[in-house]
Symmetry: C2
């Protein structure tokens, strides 16, 4: 492989973090901007990550009794009008379908025709239309709980977009459940937050802080919004998932009523919870480095690549057979219930070949030449280690250790992210110090997670937001009760909350 | 269970086939019409079938090297204008997005605002936008073949809709491949038709006739359209999948060019192929009966249901434990690579409980009472047999035989469908007889697949279509060369083609 002095990605994180992010995506061939405003094309390497996310989350959902369903892409305008009464500012930026036909425009082109009596909105969420179904499906307490989830595309018109993090169309899942009692719905809210936590920490190797949102940051219509927040390498927070307890608010606006065991009519208690392709943005920003994407083995589209060392003019049959044999035996194993996938790259592109796979973030790179075969060895490099670090390992030992190596990489990434977050999280009680840490923050440099006291007033919350673009990401569940004074106004406070700049 | 004289579905197939179809869907809780015009809600039982279809087809696709990707929901109007030059009548009925915002209308409602400079079309297919990407991704022969597939929702504005068979929004997969040579592209066309054939016959237990479309019935822009056609119980044909060889036509309109091994610029050769939620309509119409849905075990959301016989007031713990034990041991097995899923229904609704599962089409129904447990037996009913037919089987024997029973049901359904098609397929050489068979055809009664000679002229083809609403479904690959005269004009013909009324 080529020299290590130059990084594979330019600019580096330190030079220009947002540009680095775009370059990592480009160099790994995950996605690209499409000719359609605000939308992206998710290329096979990126989509395979999403498939792995969907498959593994879906198993966890179903273990809790959730069932998938599919609801229409379009929402009648009147549905949003109903909601608009309750929710100021909701769903204003959206794609509006007004016609159902194209006709020749007389100038060799086409024009919209067949105006609809009622415009249709391309779903920004399916909340209202799922609510309408839930209302029809719920008559008795025997119909509850109703545990639904949908994997789908949604559209929110965005003016400034960023691949995976903010695009007009994105892929997500939204869960909606209805229950006979508040207790059950609250338990479900936490159960799904637990599922998200387990998945994001174990599969994406992304440590998260669990907590609840402040009233100001709550989902509109929720009685309680719980979330998981992760630290990116620029020390900003990414909300990786949310789970809402909606009380009876949503049931009242959607008329989700049932006859309870005592024969009385009652409104259901509901929850909703969601995650999206944003998580892929999180994976990139938590793990990747100046040489490109770094993928946790649990969601990597390929667990390893085998690069046979072929000689021009030679009969390379033996090397290729040896490579295919290695691929077959490795793919015979399961890794956390998922089939192992090994790529063979027999291109003759010299050092560029190895760098391609570094940039794609494949956990393990294997080189295999005639000499390795003779000695029954394989040359192994790990994406969590320096690019030029290679280890020669006995072939059988490597095979038997392969899933352990993957687990070890997974753990390393998680522990590294934990350590990074720890290094960049501070308890601050001095207002000047608090301001200083965020005023200096630019891109990759500085910034932090700050645990500080807050009196609970929305005034203090919005003052800090206005001054520093810093928000209370959550009130962490594990933040201990302690005496303190608000970082903004100095009034008394009983616990610290998590402040950060956010995506 | 209740008496068998009355059928669970009313009307029966014979009384009113289209109404029977809707009732089967309703009674099985698969789907329902949504408040959004032309769209349906796919409920958990129906969506689980689609999930099983997707998972199993996806494995077959990937085995051939195909990779999934995701392209934008929206297509700029100009893309369709480009195509409109080539393709008369294409994509006229579609959902047109003209605005990107909702604003208060001053009357307490909302109105579309923020008119787009260029209208966007909700994809009726992703062909043009995938073509645009393929053109960008293809520079050298080394980039080929490009083997892409997308699972997504598409929209075609339909005036008359029918759940699963024809809805404005539906779910599908579309594959698009580009190759350096015509031979490779032709091979891929057939390879994907083979994949469809294998899947539809083996997993959906739906026998198909493979062949190519006539020029008139060809996909616009294709040099060759191959298809699989299945017979429904009303003897009409359902096209269950198509695979197109597009020659260089699509590459020319999308500018998919590459430098070949000789260093010359050349257009790629492309294919496309698709299947959709229509297949679920096919499953219903091929296998179901007057008692409701009948599901092939390979795609059933649940392979069996256990109905413990519980006594009011009794301590039913032992029965429930026995049921759960049976569920656990059965779910410990795999069935054709898929986890077995067993439902336990412990509702106390008497005979209605059993009928619910009959109507849902679950392959195996198991009753388990205190007496069965005492004798170490289970009472087993199969959905491919009469509803009141039950068999008492030793529990261990049943467990060890379970996947064989499922295979046996699968085979029975397939063989039954083959036999039905055979009974209702005729070779006809007499024009009067040909007309008679279709003129009488109404609903479930009469109608047929007819293998008849055709001279190859579009005039004859369209005459028959105009007179009888009967089309040439395909020129079957296995139709032998033989001398004959055209069923319409009497001119000479060298092979029979498949005629039928179609969905």
């Amino acid at each position: 492989m080529a020299k290590q002095s130059k990084t594979a990605i330019s600019p580096t994180r330190e030079q220009d973090y947002p540009a680095w992010y775009q370059e990592v995506i480009k160099a790994s061939d995950m996605a690209e901007n499409s000719p359609v405003r605000g939308c992206m094309v998710i290329k096979p390497w990126g989509y395979a990550i999403w498939e792995n996310i969907m498959q593994q989350m879906d198993v966890l959902f179903k273990e809790t009794g959730v069932k998938n369903a599919y609801f229409p892409l379009f929402i009648p305008l009147s549905y949003l009008e109903k909601e608009a009464e309750h929710v100021e500012g909701f769903a204003k930026e959206c794609a509006v379908v007004t016609h159902h036909r194209l006709e020749p425009d007389g100038k060799g082109g086409l024009k919209p025709a067949g105006e609809l009596a009622e415009p249709l909105i391309v779903r920004p969420t399916s909340e209202t239309i799922i609510g309408e179904s839930m209302a029809r499906w719920t008559t008795s307490y025997r119909d509850l709980p109703l545990l639904l989830n949908q994997w789908a595309n949604v559209v929110r018109w965005e003016m400034r977009t960023r691949m995976f993090l903010r695009t007009s169309e994105f892929l997500w899942q939204e869960g909606h459940t209805a229950h006979a009692t508040a207790r059950e719905a609250k338990e479900r809210t936490m159960q799904m937050l637990d599922v998200y936590t387990k998945f994001v920490q174990e599969c994406l190797a992304m440590p998260v802080i669990r907590g609840r949102k402040t009233v100001a940051e709550r989902f509109p219509g929720a009685d309680d919004t719980t979330c998981i927040e992760a630290m990116m390498q620029d020390k900003r927070a990414l909300q990786a998932g949310t789970s809402h307890f909606l009380g009876q608010n949503f049931a009242k606006s959607s008329e989700i009523k049932f006859q309870n065991e005592e024969g009385q009519e009652a409104y259901a208690w509901t929850t909703s919870w969601g995650t999206s392709t944003r998580m892929i943005g999180g994976i990139i920003m938590v793990h990747s480095d100046d040489d490109g994407l770094v993928l946790p083995p649990r969601i990597a589209p390929a667990h390893a690549v085998i690069m046979p060392i072929l000689k021009k003019g030679d009969d390379n049959r033996e090397v290729m057979e040896s490579a295919r044999g290695l691929k077959d035996v490795l793919e015979g194993k399961l890794y956390h219930g998922r089939k192992i996938n090994i790529e063979i790259d027999d291109r003759d592109t010299g050092g560029a070949r190895g760098w391609d796979w570094v940039k794609k973030g494949v956990p393990v790179r294997i080189e295999l030449g005639p000499r390795d075969i003779e000695q029954n060895m394989v040359s192994v490099a790990r994406r969590d280690q320096a690019v030029n670090e290679k280890q020669s390992i006995n072939r059988e030992e490597f095979i038997s250790e392969f899933t352990n190596i993957l687990d070890n990489i997974q753990d390393t990434l998680f522990n590294r992210a934990i350590a990074f977050r720890k290094e960049n999280t501070f308890e601050i009680d001095d207002k000047k110090a608090f301001y200083k840490i965020y005023q200096k923050a630019r891109g990759y440099k500085n910034g932090a997670f700050v645990m500080a006291h807050w009196c609970g007033s929305q005034d203090c919350e919005s003052t800090i937001k206005d001054h520093l673009s810093v928000t209370i990401r959550c009130i962490p569940f594990d933040s201990p009760v302690e005496e303190g004074s608000c970082i903004c106004c100095g009034n008394s406070s009983s616990r610290r909350v998590l402040f950060a700049k956010a995506y």
